[in-house]
């Protein structure tokens, strides 16, 4: 073990740190994104960086990769001071980055993507041959198997991520930075990724893992740093900490990681869906005959890897996408294709919808909070002053009350939506939808990009609505969320439901298998 302030499980306790940051600061305007950050990561270790959205993790990594220039501080790689003005310099210093959003040329093959930018020479052929050899060796050493001749557009997200890793390794990176690498992966794919990372570590590579999933930190890292409001608040040895402690360090107060959830008391059936089918604009069938039902006072969770039809299910029910099949709400048939099949008609039927992407759909980012709090309900008689004009004063007054009840911070209705943090934006959407006391609440990714402190609050509000007798249809790619909130869980794969489970009779492994299309025995 190294010194107390830089504990490390690396094999070279006396060696210089693979990467060291001293007093890094960076401000954007009045916002101090990074303040006096110091960090030492020893070679051959996996170091986790956790922190809420906006804590400054991405800024710090962007400085390391030469996207931003730090206002102050220095960077040392392998004990030597370096300046990193651009990503080329970062690559020369041996730093490789795997971004959350992959940077691959989709129509190109794996091989072509790997050599892009390091062709070395006018002709491609020698570079391609070289890359093919290297790729074979890397595949053997690290379980990094990818077909070198496959086109990126034909590959799944897990494979694409491996290509990103290969790109970094091909450029002889010794330090790998991964930004939220498991966000899009199934549990099985994530496990495979962790095996690869462990192999890389045993070969002496240094890995920095940025994530908000405390479970992953606990499972794979040797050391972990916590960031909060631009500062590095702690660096700990993973073996000597706990998720609870990390969460507290991230948020700055005690956080309940477990929900206070009463057993459900389901009542009459609210939502019935039979043989729902959706074909998208490209002629691809996205829902292939989905049938399900949700009763009052229960939460049905839909688990699945993103892109398997869950989004379409919410969009059909929310009136955004036309479909065929039968949908009944409280026994009355819903028109799925007609001229008036839109969000407005669904709201009139008691369906509230918290969309998956609040910034794209749920909010108008340039509208004030009070304008957003009637978005979709602006035809409501309570919003009108007379036949022609809206009653903005009344809307604003109600908005202020709602923001107070949902603990939106700051509780200022005259602030534009874009000036709120992700969690508070989501609270605005939830306040709007939940306070209508809907018969059916559709929720997509309720806590995506939401800080830990707000997750607790949002989950509790959804449970409160259930206990008040609403039916809730929950779609989330976070299995933990599905398991802790749902009363029943349905797994979706390739536009079909793979089966239903009770949360106390299943686990992440079984759900993970079902999410990849594998049938399991009905429990």
């Amino acid at each position: 073990m190294a010194g107390a302030e830089a504990p490390a499980a690396g094999r070279h306790p006396d060696a210089a740190p693979a990467i060291e940051l001293r007093g890094i600061s960076k401000a954007f305007g009045t916002v101090q994104a990074n303040r006096d950050i110091s960090l030492r990561v020893m070679p051959g270790t996996i170091h986790g960086i956790v922190g809420e959205n906006g804590a400054g993790k991405s800024t710090l990594m962007s400085i390391l990769y030469g996207f931003y220039k730090a206002d102050a501080g220095e960077i040392l790689v392998g004990g030597r001071r370096v300046t990193i003005p651009d990503s080329q310099a970062a690559i020369r210093a041996g730093i490789g980055m795997v971004f959350q959003h992959f940077k691959l040329v989709e129509p190109f093959t794996v091989l072509e993507n790997v050599i892009l930018g390091v062709e070395e020479g006018r002709l491609l052929k020698p570079a391609l041959a070289r890359a093919r050899d290297t790729l074979q060796r890397l595949a053997r050493d690290y379980e990094l198997n990818v077909d070198p001749d496959a086109r990126i557009e034909d590959l799944g997200v897990g494979m694409r991520q491996r290509v990103e890793l290969l790109k970094a390794l091909y450029r002889q990176a010794d330090i790998l930075i991964l930004d939220e690498p498991t966000g899009v992966l199934t549990p099985t794919e994530a496990d495979h990724l962790f095996r690869i990372l462990k192999n890389l570590k045993s070969e002496g590579k240094t890995i920095i893992l940025i994530t908000h999933k405390l479970r992953e930190i606990m499972a794979i890292t040797d050391t972990v740093s916590v960031m909060r409001r631009g500062e590095m608040t702690a660096t700990l040895e993973t073996a000597r900490t706990s998720p609870e402690q990390l969460a507290e360090l991230m948020v700055g107060r005690k956080v309940l990681l477990r929900l206070d959830k009463k057993p459900a008391t389901p009542d009459q059936t609210i939502l019935e869906i039979e043989n729902l089918r959706v074909t998208d604009d490209d002629g691809v069938e996205r829902l292939k005959g989905v049938s399900l039902s949700v009763r009052a006072g229960e939460i049905l969770g839909i688990a699945g890897v993103a892109g398997n039809g869950q989004s379409q299910l919410l969009e059909v029910l929310g009136g955004i996408t036309p479909a065929t099949g039968n949908v009944r709400v409280k026994g009355a048939e819903i028109d799925l294709t007609g001229r008036h099949s839109d969000g407005r008609s669904r709201r009139a039927r008691g369906i509230a919808h918290v969309p998956e992407d609040r910034q794209r759909e749920g909010l108008i980012m340039d509208f004030f909070a009070w304008e957003n709090l009637v978005f979709g309900y602006h035809h409501d008689p309570a919003c009108q002053r007379n036949r022609a004009l809206m009653d903005n004063a009344a809307i604003r007054a109600r908005a202020a009350e709602q923001m107070a009840r949902f603990d939106v911070r700051p509780p200022d209705p005259d602030l534009a939506a874009r000036n709120f943090s992700g969690g508070n934006q989501q609270k605005i959407v939830l306040a709007r939808e939940i306070e209508r006391n809907p018969d059916l609440l559709l929720v997509g990714q309720p806590t995506r990009g939401v800080d830990i402190g707000a997750i607790e609050f949002i989950h509790q509000r959804i449970l409160d609505l259930r206990d008040a007798g609403s039916a809730v249809l929950l779609v989330s790619v976070e299995l933990e969320e599905i398991l802790s909130l749902s009363d029943r869980i349905a797994v979706m794969f390739d536009g079909r439901l793979m089966g239903e489970r009770r949360p106390d009779q299943t686990d992440e492994t079984e759900l993970g298998l079902m999410m990849t299309g594998m049938r399991t025995e009905v429990a």
Binding site: R344, R360, E361, G376
Partner: protein
């Protein structure tokens, strides 16, 4: 990087600085062709603001620009770029002429509402086709509205030459409108309250209609459900669809309002000034409306101020061309510089100013 500057700096200071820069550059150009910029400024100010006669022309032009500026501004709120103000105003003129010539109107009080209605309807109808193509077929409204400017000009040409031209006349224009359609000028109106105003200037009651239009557009955009939906759609189409706002409806209604506003310009020019319909009665006001809307930040009050500024440039420029050796084209250059600085080069002024305010704020804290 929001809320760096106080609102007054955003709304007043930036356009003002842009304007000063544009004028400074214009001064350099005037010096370069060997004229005295100070004398030129003096002449523009006297020519456009120095007498009630001058004001009468400035406000007459400003009225046109208010209508076309509002037309562009309304469409901007739905993120639609209506470049067809020219054509819509042309068709508005046709509507006004048809109404004015249809009956022996006894008094302008009767003729005016009919003409207003006709101008708005014809303008809206001319915007409706590109709007429908955009909403239903996805044909880009910038392209279609430009095309409709040319078609509008051709329609007018055909109507004047083949249908509306009085027999025996060699001039592609209608006959004079009957006296009962003569609109009161600002001279007539201000005389009622005892204020003397030039009898020869063309500014007329349409200016008051333009002011009312500013108020109505403000109410529409910020106080009605339709305005709320227009702005929501303009900011984010996916969000609008999520909220149950129908894009086809918003695009159609926005463009109908926009076209109607552009068409209303004809009440000022065709009915208020020329009192007959001639070729090219719009004279580019449809395009200047784009600059006016940009400079006015799509806000009716901003449009009003920008329209008066461009009225000043128009009238002052005409005076300059009349009394000095500065060619008419240079006025266009000055106008172009104003458009360039206030519209396209907005960030050039904004960025240093934001940094300045940031530094000020840092020092305070």
């Amino acid at each position: 990087m929001r809320d760096v500057m106080p609102r007054w700096a955003d709304v007043v200071l930036i356009p003002l600085i842009s304007l000063v820069l544009a004028f400074l550059l214009s001064a350099v150009v005037i010096v370069a062709i060997g004229e005295d910029p100070l004398a030129a400024v003096r002449m523009m100010v006297t020519g456009a603001l120095g007498s009630t006669y001058a004001w009468g022309y400035t406000l007459y032009y400003a009225t046109n620009f208010i209508f076309t500026g509002l037309a562009v501004a309304v469409a901007f709120h739905a993120r639609l770029f209506n470049i067809g103000g020219e054509g819509q105003a042309t068709l508005g003129g046709l509507g006004v002429a048809l109404v004015c010539l249809a009956l022996p109107w006894p008094h302008w009080v009767l003729a005016l509402p009919a003409a207003v209605l006709a101008a708005a309807l014809f303008g809206a109808a001319w915007a409706a086709i590109p709007a429908w193509l955009q909403a239903k077929r996805g044909s880009h409204i910038v392209i279609t509205t430009i095309m409709f400017n040319f078609i509008g000009a051709a329609v007018l040409n055909y109507m004047l030459v083949n249908v509306m031209r009085p027999q025996g006349s060699m001039d592609p224009a209608t006959e004079r409108f009957p006296p009962g359609t003569h609109l009161p000028t600002l001279h007539d109106l201000l005389a009622l309250v005892g204020i003397p105003f030039s009898k020869a200037a063309p500014a007329n009651i349409a200016f008051l209609i333009a002011l009312a239009a500013c108020l109505l557009v403000w109410l529409l955009i910020w106080r009605t459900r339709l305005g709320y939906e227009i702005r929501a759609y303009g900011h984010s189409e996916p969000a609008a669809i999520y909220a149950g706002i129908r894009p086809v409806r918003v695009v159609m209604l926005t463009m109908l309002v926009s076209g109607a506003l552009a068409g209303l310009m004809a009440v000022n020019t065709v009915m208020g000034e020329a009192e007959r319909l001639v070729l090219n009665s719009v004279e580019g006001a449809g395009f200047i409306g784009i600059a006016v809307a940009l400079m006015g930040r799509s806000h009716p009050f901003g449009v009003l101020l920008a329209a008066i500024l461009f009225g000043f440039l128009y009238q002052g420029g005409a005076e300059l061309a009349l009394w000095t050796d500065i060619p008419r084209e240079l006025i266009v250059v000055i106008q172009a510089l104003v458009i360039l600085f206030t519209g396209a080069l907005d960030n050039m002024v904004r960025m240093p100013l934001e940094r300045l305010f940031l530094a000020l704020r840092k020092r305070r804290t």
